[in-house]
């Protein structure tokens, strides 16, 4: 074990004691896209005890430019990202206890996903889920490390409940739909993803070894194309009137959950999510849909083409319907072929 980690043990702020602490820790990476694969890679190589990776998506060719744990074969197999990431990570460090979870993080499952973790790392791509992570982490006192990027720009800051501002102290509410450019609409280059996720990973290591003194209290902002590296001090940015950490009102955690339809911005796709706890029989549905259109299936999902649209249906009943950005169309497609 010590040979594998010798170079980070030689680094005095970690040392043998720090390595033991890393080796006892459990980390949750939410989202296994561009940031998430770099985060998971760094945590696995650093030697955490347990790494839980949750992602709702599957590998596509357009991911390969920046999502470092995937290859062409994963895309050809339409593997769920959480599964493909763990397959790769097992080859990198088999000593880690991996827990891939193919799911959409929602108010119904976030508590369970966070059970027993020391730290949550943000590899997500939208504000809604970050608000939910923030609520859950602030409520339970679990630190999380935010990261986001688009184009050549990115930012990161730490949320240490009770010590630093929380996500809602900084962004009170999610921006209105369409206000934030996404990687699918504005593009993104791999270097900024690696930089931001690496800043997050360094903060994660400080936290796991217990070096709180060196943890950043700043918002780090980088634009790798415009040659800008900046830090803004957030040490006075806690808001006593913050709904989450000030008033301890957890709006996103307490949101009612029913059928959720989510437009996947810039991708001409809608995600249809059934209420939590759903489960579908992919084998049975594949047989049925085979008579109505073109079907392909792996153990985790099925792909179905009909009416000029494509649907990917996961085992938890969630579906991504491509070829429309109209929620009503997606709803009726789902109702017609899966049932709701």
């Amino acid at each position: 074990m010590w040979q594998r980690y010798s170079r980070q043990i030689f680094f005095p702020p970690i040392g043998e004691e720090g390595q033991k602490r890393i080796g006892r820790s459990s980390v949750l990476v939410v989202g296994a896209g561009a940031l998430g694969t770099v985060l998971a890679n760094n945590m696995a190589r650093a030697g955490v005890r347990r790494l839980r990776i949750v992602d709702r998506d599957f590998v596509e060719e357009s991911n390969l430019q920046r999502q470092i744990l995937y290859d062409e074969e994963d895309a050809a197999r339409t593997l769920p990202k959480a599964v493909a990431a763990v397959e790769k990570l097992r080859k990198i460090n088999s000593e880690v206890d991996y827990e891939p979870v193919v799911a959409d993080v929602n108010p119904g499952n976030v508590r369970e996903l966070m059970a027993g973790v020391d730290l949550v790392l943000d590899g997500t791509d939208n504000f809604e889920v970050r608000m939910l992570i923030n609520d859950a982490c602030v409520k339970q006192g679990v630190p999380w490390i935010h990261g986001a990027c688009v184009g050549s720009q990115g930012l990161s800051f730490n949320i240490l409940p009770g010590e630093t501002p929380c996500f809602r102290c900084i962004y009170q509410d999610p921006p209105p739909p369409g206000a934030a450019p996404t990687c699918d609409t504005a593009g993104v280059i791999a270097p900024i993803v690696n930089i931001i996720a690496s800043i997050q990973s360094a903060e994660a290591l400080k936290l796991l070894v217990g070096d709180r003194e060196h943890l950043s209290r700043d918002l780090a902002s980088v634009d790798v194309w415009e040659n800008s590296f900046e830090r803004v001090d957030l040490s006075n940015a806690r808001r006593p009137d913050c709904p989450a950490c000030g008033e301890r009102r957890f709006d996103f955690l307490e949101a009612r959950t029913g059928w959720l339809l989510l437009s996947m911005c810039g991708r001409d796709s809608i995600q249809v999510s059934p209420p939590p706890g759903g489960k579908v029989d992919l084998v049975e549905i594949a047989e049925r849909l085979g008579q109505l259109g073109e079907v392909a299936r792996n153990p985790f999902l099925l792909k179905f083409r009909a009416d000029g649209r494509e649907m990917v249906l996961f085992g938890d009943g969630r579906a991504v319907i491509k070829g429309t950005d109209d929620e009503a169309v997606a709803r009726s497609f789902y109702a017609k072929y899966v049932g709701m």
Binding site: G151, Y171, N236
Partner: protein
């Protein structure tokens, strides 16, 4: 500091981040610049003066704290403005 000639005014130092840099006045030499405002001007008024739509300004920090649109800026405030960044 003094403001616009003839009017009681304030000066604030503004730093725009990421995609908001395009709203920097042509005269600004570096990443940050000094903006002159009439006394009592709010965050909202500053955004309007810079041509930044409210939804584009996801984070406005002045004096190290997040400020609401109605916050009256003070002479000498350092204001950092970030657009929403959601990707990853």
């Amino acid at each position: 500091m003094t403001g616009v000639i003839g009017l009681p005014g304030i000066l604030v130092r503004v730093k725009l981040f990421a995609s908001l840099r395009r709203h920097r006045p042509a005269s600004a030499a570096g990443p940050d610049f000094v903006q002159s405002l009439t006394s009592g001007s709010t965050v909202e008024a500053l955004l309007e003066q810079l041509g930044i739509n409210g939804a584009e300004a996801a984070i406005v920090l002045a004096g190290g704290e997040r400020r609401d649109p109605g916050y009256p800026l003070k002479d000498g405030d350092e204001v950092a403005i970030f657009p929403p960044m959601g990707g990853g």
